[in-house]
């Protein structure tokens, strides 16, 4: 009888411990979830927008230029009169590319020496993907580019 009662007590203790541990974990999880939600930023949704970027005659013939807009960085290129537009953000680790007119006629990233050709394809270096290409329209002497934009983040 004594043994049974001891076992019963142990079982009860065990169950009490399980309930206590579960309650503790639930409370910790509740705190952790709210702390995570507190730290995780509100990321504005992306929307597609056509934005004026540059006057057509400001693009050097057979050359490129990077235009910095509040909504993003756009690389504009003239290829025998045709205007092309890319994201100026290197697909490797996010630095900004520049046009190399004198050397290879390539887009060049100074951070890890990645190079892209006039199609935006990787010529050399570590970038894993081609540059993101944007649809372009030229109207009334201005170049318009359609890109996905986010509202700039509010300050801290």
């Amino acid at each position: 009888m004594k043994v049974e009662s001891e076992e019963g007590l142990k079982r009860r203790d065990f169950l009490a411990n399980v309930v206590l541990a579960a309650a503790g974990l639930l409370a910790l999880g509740g705190f952790a979830a709210r702390f995570f939600a507190f730290l995780y930023p509100d990321v504005p949704p992306e929307k597609t927008l056509e934005v004026p970027v540059i006057a057509r005659d400001q693009i050097p013939p057979n050359g490129g230029v990077v235009v910095n807009l509040p909504v993003g960085h756009v690389a504009i290129l003239d290829v025998n009169g045709e205007v092309r537009a890319f994201s100026a953000v290197c697909t490797h680790l996010g630095c900004l590319i520049t046009w190399q007119p004198t050397a290879d006629h390539v887009w060049y990233c100074p951070c890890h020496k990645g190079k892209y050709d006039r199609e935006g394809h990787v010529v050399s270096g570590p970038p894993p993907r081609p540059l993101t290409r944007y649809p372009v329209a030229v109207r009334d002497g201005r170049v318009y580019v359609t890109l996905k934009v986010r509202q700039p983040m509010e300050s801290a």
Binding site: L39, P41, V43, C95, L96, R150, P152, S155
Partner: protein
């Protein structure tokens, strides 16, 4: 109040048994620790104290907001009395702290002091090394000059390459999709809050284990003679510490800290390179695709963390051949080659 009186007064109010204080001070250490090379274990701790002191001073003037961060660093460096000195010491000690941790780690690796039962001491030690790198990265980001800004961009972008969790982790770390005002305050918080707390906890665990296990004996060393921790070894540590302090002061006086151009999110500078201790990973990232770079770095860190068990496994595969030492040394040399290659290029 006389000295004895004060001692008595204190002993009454803080009743710690004298033997409890005496025991750790009189700990017996193996005589091989008398070699100067073994006196470097305490130096990272000394540098950490220097960093805490100078770091607290810097927070009196530094403003962790993009519009003011650069100006506040400029004010500290060029306008405030001894600002150049405080920032210079903080900067130089951060580099020496990295060197000290690395040297200590290499010494422990070379003498295989991580063998059972001291595996966890090594794990805490490697974790301290990783947090030291975290300190370096976040601290560098706070300066908010061109190199600092683009190093932050590149460094945080690496996280986005992690499959599935990459984007959420990036947003969490940056406080948004791009480097923005939230990023600076987050990095600042990591630098002065999260990391120091973690560092102190790791140091406590590391030192507690060193004291509980005692210093690892040298492999195959029949000499079991010992000497006392205090004052003999403490004096050695103090001598090394004083020489290094003097070296830092001389270095800062001769080469006070400078400041690059203000961060421009619209222009990546033509010649960009991180601080020298990130040269190996910088060179490696130029050589291999980003996914390879990321996962090989993760593998490198994991193999460092779990080295005691990897070494034991290799010892079982080829007993007495010291395969672990050879592979580990090859890893260190490869990293050193990448560093020198980048430095010379």
């Amino acid at each position: 109040m006389s000295a004895t009186g004060l001692k008595g007064w204190l002993a009454e109010r803080v009743p710690i048994p004298p033997e409890m204080l005496r025991k750790p001070l009189k700990e017996e250490l193996p005589t091989h620790l008398k070699t100067w090379l073994w006196a470097f274990g305490g130096t990272p701790l000394l540098f950490f104290f220097i960093q805490v002191a100078t770091g607290i001073l810097l927070t009196f003037y530094y403003v962790p907001y993009p519009l003011h961060a650069y100006e506040s660093v400029r004010q500290i460096t060029f306008s405030l009395r001894f600002g150049w000195f405080v920032r210079g010491i903080h900067q130089a000690a951060s580099q020496l702290m990295f060197v000290a941790v690395l040297m200590h780690m290499i010494r422990v690796f070379a003498t295989r002091a991580f063998r059972p039962p001291r595996e966890l001491t090594w794990v805490f030690g490697v974790s301290l090394f990783l947090v030291t790198l975290g300190f370096a990265f976040t601290g560098y980001s706070l300066v908010y000059d061109q190199l600092s800004y683009w190093a932050t961009t590149v460094g945080t972008n690496m996280i986005s390459e992690v499959p599935l969790l990459g984007r959420p982790l990036l947003y969490l770390m940056r406080g948004g999709p791009d480097v923005n005002p939230n990023t600076l305050s987050r990095l600042y918080d990591f630098h002065i809050g999260v990391m120091p707390t973690l560092f102190v906890m790791l140091i406590a665990a590391h030192i507690a284990l060193v004291r509980l296990h005692g210093v690892a004996p040298l492999e195959g060393d029949p000499d079991r003679k010992t000497y006392s921790f205090f004052p003999d070894h403490v004096l050695r540590e103090a001598a090394v510490g004083l020489v290094l302090l003097l070296a830092i002061v001389v270095y800062v006086v001769l080469s006070p800290p400078g400041l690059g151009a203000k961060a421009d999110p619209n222009l990546t500078p033509a010649h960009i390179r991180p601080e020298w201790y990130f040269f190996p990973s910088y060179r490696w990232l130029k050589m291999v695709p980003v996914q390879v770079g990321l996962w090989s770095s993760v593998a490198f860190v994991l193999s460092m963390l779990f080295w005691p068990w990897i070494d034991a496994g290799l010892e079982r595969v080829a007993p007495g051949k010291k395969l672990g030492v050879m592979i580990g040394t090859a890893g260190w040399l490869f990293t050193l080659c990448l560093l020198v290659w980048e430095a010379l290029s």
